[in-house]
Symmetry: none
Subunit: 415 residues, 2 copies
């Protein structure tokens, strides 16, 4: 079954506020096998809410209307849903009594506008809200011959979330056949999104029962797989089966089979091989060290390194011969390799990485343009160096440089 979440409230159409309840609702709906097909955010105008409800009823089985149930003039969800469904409302005597009691208990005067919270749409069940004045409503109805479940629930998270869990979910479970969802996330790097999709679409498109989403960003590709079946085991088998084929196709581009970060994978292999790492960073200025040390426990494999932004420090901390720098320039394969080997020797680490390049926006020449970055890896007996031409702004070039460095080390460690 499919659902649409309709969040009502003008504040969520400003640049500062977002609906976040829908993430919570989505997680719970997915867990019982309901996919969220649409989310709509609408302000406090009655005509807009009516239009949104009508659109939703044409396209999904379950509609959750969230917010707009309070006592003020711009709380119009009840009125809008009843108009969109073409049914009336009645003022519920026991709700009026409960409201009066609630105010009396707090020794507050109940203003008349509160009474609209006792209005119930014809055919609706009242959903008790122990955390606020506005109750929810549950409608099991039909539209153009199709069964529709419509819920009205309050907007404040402290009311919405418990009410949904305690009142709506048990009712939904009675209607929906139980289904379990299995998920997995694979990650690859150094392959473009379109190249990955060209490679993988012929595979994943044959698995019609597994939903595959490709996301690109942060110098990597994510493949999110999910599958809903009667049991979790059944669903997991299908996800794992497809994942196996995708992993095989991605080959060395794949770095994570279960959503791990590249930093985590590199540190995992370093520890497995009882190896240590030191870095010498020029244009990345600490970004590689920062990424590695963002992982808790990285001190077991990462000894540290040097930020050799100036030429003098390249010699001071990485023992790079000044002659080498004047012969090749600070941005050169020779200097990157000397930095990698120099920092390795000075720190006693198993591996050394050296990064030198032109992050921009200034500093580029025709011979050495912005985006040119040399990344070198040394283990004492052998050295390798890659010449890269990265695109994008300063921060993007630096991100790609650290990504390349981590990926070179990952590939070396895997063999």
């Amino acid at each position: 079954m499919n659902a649409e979440i309709l969040a009502v409230g003008s504040e969520m159409l400003t640049p500062w506020r977002q609906d976040t309840n829908s993430l919570f609702l989505t997680e719970h709906l997915n867990a019982i096998g309901v996919a969220v097909r649409f989310k709509t955010i609408v302000g406090d105008r009655r005509t807009d809410i009516v239009s949104a409800v009508r659109a939703a009823l044409t396209r999904t089985d379950i509609l959750i209307v969230m917010g707009g149930l309070g006592p003020t003039e711009d709380d119009l969800s009840r009125e809008a849903v009843s108009e969109a469904l073409g049914v009336g409302m009645r003022r519920d005597g026991s709700l009026v009594a409960a409201l009066s009691a609630r105010f009396a208990e707090r020794r507050m005067t109940m203003t008349d506008n509160n009474l609209k919270q006792a209005d119930v749409i014809e055919g609706a069940e009242v959903l008790v809200n122990p955390n606020g004045t506005a109750p929810g409503q549950w409608l099991d109805t039909a539209c153009n011959g199709f069964r529709k479940l419509v819920m009205l629930i309050p907007g404040p998270p402290s009311e919405c979330r418990p009410l949904f869990e305690e009142q709506c979910l048990p009712r939904l479970r009675q209607v929906i056949p139980a289904r379990k969802i299995a998920r997995r996330t694979l990650k690859a790097t150094m392959i473009g999104e379109s190249a990955a999709d060209a490679l993988l679409a012929p595979i994943y498109s044959t698995y019609t029962d597994v939903e595959t989403t490709i996301l690109a960003g942060n110098c990597e590709i994510q493949l999110q797989l999910s599958c809903a079946k009667a049991t979790l085991e059944e669903a997991q088998v299908r996800v794992d089966h497809l994942a196996g084929k995708l992993e095989e196709a991605l080959d060395e581009y794949l770095f994570a089979s279960h959503d791990e970060t590249l930093e985590q994978i590199v540190l995992y292999y370093l520890e497995l091989k009882q190896a240590t790492l030191a870095v010498a960073e020029s244009c990345t200025g600490g970004m590689l060290g920062e990424r590695i040390t963002s992982v808790s426990g990285s001190s077991r494999s990462f000894v540290g390194g040097a930020l050799v932004y100036s030429d003098a420090l390249k010699s001071e901390f990485c023992s790079v011969a000044p002659d080498l720098i004047s012969a090749h320039g600070a941005v050169s394969a020779a200097v990157a390799e000397a930095m990698a080997e120099g920092i390795r020797r000075r720190t006693g680490a198993t591996f050394g990485i050296g990064i030198t390049g032109i992050a921009g926006p200034g500093g580029g020449t025709e011979e050495k343009p912005v985006g040119l970055v040399y990344v070198a890896l040394s283990d004492g007996s052998s050295r390798e160096c890659s010449e890269n031409h990265f695109r994008g702004d300063r921060q993007k070039v630096r991100q790609w440089a650290t990504q390349k460095a981590l990926d070179m080390l990952r590939r070396r460690l895997m063999h």
Copy 2:
């Protein structure tokens, strides 16, 4: 005029991802007097996108369709909009040529699926996207006799936001009557949001014609001021008048009067005083260096430093006496100060900063708990050290530590 923002992408219907571009778009739309009336989020199914586009065209003047413009099979926004409008598409020869050139320039093979990015809806203008392969599209059309502006823009924030600012806003301004808005952003750090609001609300609340928003995050407070008047001069006078009073009240907490970053301010003062900086980082592992070098031109004042994650490297690169470490422990004021002075002397910089602490989640003791970080600053003749107890996860503790280091240096440089 009214707008609807339609975000396309199945990942935004999961419990983990949210559309955030719409907040950015809303801010810019509001600034030119356009109200956002609806936001809709829809997955990568063609029928769903068509349904969402059709609903939007019945209720708003401006429709912004965001995402689903890439090369993969599930990028279907072009197809869906053309179906909803009932017009055809043509493959644009110059876009095909631009795509081929882009791939050739990167020495990559262009797979056939990329070609669909050259499909243009009949009557649409192409919106150049310098940051990605998929161009945007602009349609000035009519639906049932009403004028409709429809924009297709890419989903990734790094493509969506510049394209909207550079291509869509100028076109929208030609259609919409002008209003002049002056803005300013002040920034402060090391003061809490509620403390800042208690201090500032009595001031800004008397300026009813200036809108003041306080945002907290990334270890700083932002005060966004904006004012709309008939002329920009009139609006600017009011914004600057309020800004002056707020700056006075914030005193030394204020670090930026015109939206500068803390890194920029520190580098500005270093250059002004012809001073240089070196850093020795333990628990922050490169984050301070990374932040400083994220600013273009930082090499004029930043010489580099050392990532002294291990005790041995604290001695090797910062000349910290091993005895000092065994007497006080690596996380101590004495070691932080020795790191600051050691890295200063070794690099010949004017100022040295040393950071040592326990970022967590492991490694804490009763005496030295997670979040304890010493930040020291030395200029050779004098040293200062602050003991901090930061809250939050590993990354938050590290962010606060680098923020504190930059702010200590800023305060020193201001005197």
